[in-house]
């Protein structure tokens, strides 16, 4: 058996970093912020050992622009931060998207708004799925709910970012980043693809390449945006991911992602023990939102319950995915408080008329 089959115990943040290295990422630019700290620390230890670059930038803004530079060179590059830091990076994310550059951004969410707190939260949902910067664009957003899934999605995120030439994000939270779980790294895959657009010096052998997001002529900018929109449509068609648990006969389905989904799953199990036909729908991609699967589920269930560590940012997407045919209730905690399975169970019981 190869190294890929070894079972190891790792913290979420460190597993994300190791997965990125194994996926061929050799350039990491970041700025210190809690609770993503272990990711940067791991990179600073490991990158020199594999001939890579770990560089602590002077700001979140500089870090994302260093990512832009290395991405322009066609290399797999990554940064990580947490909510307030992501706000600062949004300028750069918009330029990366406008310049059609692939990269990986990790957001280990903490509670907000403002400086907020350093406990886990899911309050960046709207920011990263709806408006991760100015202008008309999207980024891929993956929401793992276990350390193993964090690792698997790092490989997928790099790959899809390069395929569609868009930035990709792994959206975790302080709980997932800090917890330890056993995991297996996948067998190393062929890394990357050819990037004829990269600015590496034309060597007097090809026309010059330009990485750019400026189009002063309105018709050219519209054309460019429409071309990108076509890629988004392909992404929406091909990249929706979700997981369903006990949904075949379910009447009440909890919709939750990331750490909230782990808690919701326990609550669903308890509800089943009490004879309530409960199930769980877990979005794995938040953009594109798994509308197809959730819409199909909406045809057969009586009630949805959205559970989040926010004040209900995902509720609208659940309603839109099901064309508002099914009532959507909400239960959430925020400020860094993690909902308990008992609290979620109580909400399910209420909806079941118990």
């Amino acid at each position: 058996m190869g190294k890929g089959a070894e079972r190891v115990l790792m913290k979420g943040n460190e597993a994300l970093a190791e997965a990125a290295i194994q996926a061929g990422c050799r350039h990491f630019f970041g700025y210190p912020i809690t609770p993503q700290t272990e990711l940067s620390a791991y990179m600073s230890r490991q990158m020199p050992k594999v001939g890579g670059i770990y560089l602590q930038a002077e700001s979140e803004i500089a870090a994302i622009n260093m990512v832009l530079g290395a991405a322009s060179a066609g290399l797999r590059v990554m940064t990580s931060s947490s909510s307030p830091g992501i706000s600062l990076k949004t300028e750069g994310i918009s330029y990366l998207a406008g310049s059609d550059l692939p990269c990986l951004i990790v957001d280990i969410m903490r509670a907000g708004p403002g400086l907020g707190g350093i406990q886990p939260a899911q309050g960046d949902y709207n920011q990263v799925t709806k408006a991760p910067g100015h202008g008309d664009f999207h980024i891929l957003v993956f929401a793992p709910s276990s350390v193993q899934e964090m690792v698997d999605l790092v490989f997928l995120a790099f790959d899809r970012a390069e395929e569609y030439r868009v930035p990709a994000m792994i959206l975790g939270d302080g709980l997932l980043g800090q917890m330890m779980e056993p995991l297996v790294f996948p067998e190393r895959k062929e890394e990357g693809r050819k990037k004829p657009w990269a600015t590496t010096g034309h060597q007097n052998s090809r026309p010059k390449n330009i990485v750019n997001s400026l189009y002063l002529k309105a018709n050219l900018l519209e054309e460019k945006n429409r071309e990108r929109q076509q890629r988004y449509e392909k992404i929406i068609e091909n990249e929706q991911r979700s997981e369903e648990y006990l949904t075949e006969d379910a009447e009440i389905v909890v919709v939750a992602y990331g750490a909230s989904a782990r808690i919701a799953r326990s609550a669903v199990n308890s509800a089943r023990e009490k004879g309530i036909k409960a199930g769980l729908f877990r979005p794995i991609t938040l953009w594109p939102y798994p509308k197809k699967a959730l819409g199909a589920l909406g045809e057969k269930v009586k009630q949805f319950l959205c559970v989040e560590m926010s004040m209900g940012q995902m509720v609208d997407d659940v309603k839109l995915s099901t064309s508002c045919k099914v009532p959507v209730a909400f239960f959430g905690r925020c400020g860094g408080i993690i909902p308990t399975p008992q609290e979620v169970l109580a909400e399910i019981e209420k909806l079941a008329g118990r």
Binding site: H27, N209, I210, N212
Partner: protein
Amino acid sequence: MRKTVYTKSKGLTDIPTHYCPGCSHGIIHKLVAETLEEMDLLGNTVGVAPVGCAVLAYEYFNVDMVEAPHGRAPAVATGLIRALPDRTVFTYQGDGDLAAIGTAETVHAAARGENIVIIFVNNAIYGMTGGQVAPTSLIGQVTQTSPYGRKENHEGFPIRMCELLSTLNGVCYAERVAVNNVPAIKKAKKAIQKAFDNQVNKRGFSIVEVLSSCPTNWGMSPVDAMKWVDENMVPYYPLGCFKDKTAGKEA
């Protein structure tokens, strides 16, 4: 018999520039392009364009180019040179870009001694947006947003970037030049050559600050603008080398 006495540098594309009549950007573009061509660096160079008057520089230089967000060119160049350590990486930035919104990126790229060249075009005004007060506008200078003249107790004092940066250990070379007369242009070319020579030999961070004219936004003729550089800018921004590690010159 006809003899060719001048040809345009292969370092420039055939795209007509958008610069105003009498603006010094054209001269500075030419000096950079000639230097890259003469040093046989065109194929191995990645340039970073700023936001400001030179935003379209990515169209004009005949090298691979990246267009950076406003002020972030030194960070983008850092990403490029860390990814491509054997390439030549340079930024071309104006005063608003380099000395206002991008001050942190400039200072820290310099402090790290990134192996890049910065061509810093200082014309003491925001040109692209129509002539607002800049970090390098002179005391008393009238602009669109300092209509009563820049005041030291309001906008503060103009920043001398070469002097500031030359205090940093990471900086290999910092020189201020002008391009408002032929001898000055010749000196400017030498400084640009030296900066790229440092880069090729991996000596670290080099900056060449070029005092430049903006007749449009200064509201004067190109000839008067060239005189204005000598009469008003040079007294506050003295020309010369502030740091040159290769010559043992420290700040």
